[in-house]
Symmetry: C2
Subunit: 154 residues, 2 copies
Amino acid sequence: MPTTPQNMEEHLALFEQACRAAGLRVTHQRLQVYRQLALLDTHPTAEILHQELRKKIPTISLDTVYRTLATFAAHGLINKVETIESQARFEVALMRHHHLICSSCKTIMDFQWQSVDDALLPSEVSAWGRIDTRSVVVYGICHTCLQQTPLPGK
Amino acid sequence: MPTTPQNMEEHLALFEQACRAAGLRVTHQRLQVYRQLALLDTHPTAEILHQELRKKIPTISLDTVYRTLATFAAHGLINKVETIESQARFEVALMRHHHLICSSCKTIMDFQWQSVDDALLPSEVSAWGRIDTRSVVVYGICHTCLQQTPLPGK
DNA sequence: TTCTTGACAAGAATAATTCTTATCTAGTAA
DNA sequence: TTACTAGATAAGAATTATTCTTGTCAAGAA
């Protein structure tokens, strides 16, 4: 769920408001980390973001990227996406959606599934405590990978 | 989804069959790793399993536990559970179920949600490629944690 | 029983992430 | 505007989960 360059300014303004509301200082690094993440729809890792960010801020440290992403995620400004890889992946938290992961090429796609978003959770779940979010992860093999290797292992 | 000691023998026999069917050798270590995992309903980490296993096999290495879990997961004999922690967690793959994760104490609970298991996926997803599994992860705060700290952060 | 290949143990190595420390800066108050 | 202070950053060291390497061993086939 990326943002196009056209509405980036307005998106960043909203983000800045959200930061202040959360008691977070609005720093150049934070704005740029968020901006870079919003530009990409590839669920980048901290490492990938760092490489991109260094083009604009040559001195930015990888640790800052990690710390900034962790801070944003802790305040619900972005999502840390669950994956099967060891490296964590991130995305802006704009719209409720779910994930489709190709077990072969590891690409993560977003999709929406309104009926699950709206569905009542089983009563045992409601009884468990306070529910905040629900997320569906679907695993499979994408068309591209299916064509490359006719019968990949499950 | 653990196994009670009562039906453990039959469960292990089934597991042994599944191993042979997958072309995996049935070793003492593999049986014990699987048995220990089946006994626990706490979604243990490789480290926790290793600690338990050393009581029975003092010489078993942590690497063997990791390798064995990875091998089982690759053959669908167990599941690697997606978590918000850095350490991976595992469970036997007995029955289709979903996960409930407490953002505070990080405990993982299993639950079933038949209607989602049966629900038709959005057409864009079916068009994407071959679908293997779907898994719902619900985040919230469990009752125990809610009572300890009246208003924990989201 | 023998043989072969996959599995194992031990310890070294790697890779992702986090910590430490000194410096800097956003936002506040004078 | 200026000075102040808590929170943010950079750099590099440290940590932690996981994987690799090497030599040995044993499951299961012949």
